[in-house]
């Protein structure tokens, strides 16, 4: 039973029996339809904007401000200019962390780009038991990070599964997580292992969006499998490929849980990624100002990287 109202009836009468577009439920009454819709849309977005402002941008600005102060959580902050940044610049541990993060980031994401694409191409083929195979490959997407970290720590144990299997092939035992040369590669391996199914799903969605006709037409023209891949799959998948590049780098730069739980940043800082460095500076040594300065540097780094990649993305999307 639609609600009726005197105003509507009167308006309808004026308009010759047809209800006017601007309805009486219009709130606020005096605004035009266009303005009212403007306001409604804005109110829908408002809660999210407030949250983002309070828990993302305000902290960021505050961190930027704090990066010019000395602050230990106990006594009030003391202004000390650029001393925090200078301290970071002269701190060999910060330099080390920066390079550890860079190595981890590219070490994880570059193999992911190719292996995840391989997985998606594999799963896009018609083969018996395909739904079961997909289930098996995508299962790890649902798994939690902490479970993964504990299992791998167990497997990297000197007497754990990884060493036992390698021994079977004639290699010696390695204490993966406490040897300087192997700790970071061990973490990188976990990152790759974990990322492949995730990005595989994204690639697969991209592959399935490519119309079948293109391939059929190419086959009629006598194009081989490799030619079809290079001339149809790659160009049409390019936006997805670039998207995966951005997201994989962003998710690799924020890695923190695995070093924290598995290696404690060691041995000798070889797995102390930048987020770990910031955490340690802030919450272990209570040098909040320096931690804020390092946060700012990390954010600028991530921001610049994303900007470059987005520019690439746009260029790729235009083609």
């Amino acid at each position: 039973m639609p609600r009726t109202h005197g105003v509507v009836k009167a308006e309808a009468a004026v308009a010759g029996g047809l209800p006017r577009l601007r309805h009486w439920t219009a709130w606020p009454w005096s605004l035009s339809r266009r303005n009212r819709l403007c306001l409604a849309g804005f109110f829908f977005v408002l809660p999210a904007l407030i949250h983002i402002a309070a828990f993302k941008f305000y902290p960021l600005l505050q961190a930027f401000q704090l990066s010019f102060y000395r602050y230990d959580l106990m006594s009030p902050p003391v202004f000390n200019g650029l001393a925090n940044y200078q301290g970071l610049w002269e701190n060999p541990l910060f330099h080390q962390s920066f390079w550890v993060s860079a190595k981890y980031m590219f070490g994880v994401s570059i193999p992911e780009w190719f292996l995840a694409l391989g997985l998606a191409l594999l799963l896009n083929r018609a083969m018996p038991g395909r739904s079961f195979i997909r289930l098996a490959y995508f299962f790890p997407i649902a798994m939690s990070q902490i479970v993964v970290a504990m299992v791998w720590k167990f497997m990297y144990h000197p007497y754990g599964l990884v060493n036992t299997i390698l021994e079977f092939f004639g290699a010696g035992r390695i204490n993966w997580l406490s040897t300087e040369e192997t700790a970071l590669p061990a973490l990188i391996a976990i990152g790759i292992w974990r990322g492949i199914p995730l990005f595989g799903v994204i690639y697969l969605a991209g592959l399935q969006a490519i119309p079948r006709d293109y391939y059929e037409a190419a086959m009629i023209d006598g194009a081989g499998a490799f030619q079809r891949f290079v001339h149809i799959t790659i160009p049409l998948l390019l936006p997805t490929i670039l998207f995966v590049m951005v997201i994989s780098l962003l998710s690799a730069v924020k890695v923190f849980l695995n070093p924290l739980v598995m290696t404690g940043g060691g041995p000798s800082g070889t797995t102390r990624v930048l987020p770990y460095f910031i955490y340690e500076t802030g919450f272990t040594y209570f040098r909040m100002g320096e931690a804020a300065a390092a946060s700012t540097v990390l954010f600028v780094f991530v921001f610049a990287l994303t900007l470059i990649l987005l520019r690439l993305l746009r260029r790729g999307g235009v083609q």
């Binding site: 577009l21 009486w24 709130w27 819709l37 409604a40 849309g41 109110f43 829908f44 977005v45 809660p47 999210a48 949250h51 983002i52 828990f55 902290p59 960021l60 505050q62 961190a63 704090l66 594999l122 083969m127 195979i133 098996a136 490959y137 299962f139 790890p140 997407i141 649902a142 798994m143 939690s144 990070q145 902490i146 479970v147 504990m150 299992v151 791998w152 167990f154 007497y159 599964l161 199914p197 995730l198 799903v201 997805t240 998207f243 997201i247 924020k254 849980l257 924290l260 739980v261 987020p275 910031i278 955490y279 802030g282 919450f283 909040m288 946060s295 990390l298 954010f299 991530v302 999307g317």
Partner: protein, 276 residues
Amino acid sequence: MNKKLLLWGGWGITLLTILGIGVTLLPYFWMVSSSLKTGAEVFELPIRWIPQEIQWANFPNALSRGSFGTYFFNSGFVAVVVTAANVLFCSLAGYGLAKFRFPFRELSFRLVLCTLMLPMEIVLVPTFLVVQQLGLVNSYGGLIFPLAVDAFGIFLMRQFIRDLPDSLIEAARLDGCSEFGIFWRIILPNCKPALGALALLSFRDNWDQFLWPYIVAASDALKTFPLGLAQMEGIDSAAYHEIMALAVMGMIPMAILFLFFQRAFVRGIALSGLKE
């Protein structure tokens, strides 16, 4: 000649597929298997893939190592509340960004996307300071508020709602439905697939919350399951069979959800991955 090559290629691909599944699932298999062994069997040589005698007692023993009842409750509670908040606020914002024109809409969307560059790992110290100023350290509020809106969720909902026909909304508007009524009665029921996917992904992420509780929850009564699992190592680093038993218990809720809603999981990730 060509046929033979094709046949070998087919075999190669099959082999690769099986090998890949092995590498993908082996750690999980090893975890379940180890959780049912005795402490001595765990590192036994040669490898014992299947425990000789299944040790169910590992599970109660492991649970008694800490207040795991509390940890599981906390994880469940935080995950459910954060998921509900995410579903509500992200669909509201997604609808606003997808179907309305208002000044600064593009800017708002850009700002939302910008926060993808500000994950908790990167803004950990500043977020902690804000939560401290709000007096929320060591409280459920402190655990929940900073996680209540996620940019990925907004992005996902916007993508989905944008593809709903405008005529649906216009028709409701002509029928005298209020703007919020349109959202509640027309939009939400029409994006159940996206809502399901968002809820699943959000529940997974927040069931798994480690870092933020690690910083903000000081007392044992507020610890989440991941924190409890990580601290097990400090209690007895040799008890890997029990640690694995706990890991299995932490995995079970997500494993069940995944088996039932596999399609929604995959769709959610695919949806948030589709560009523009």
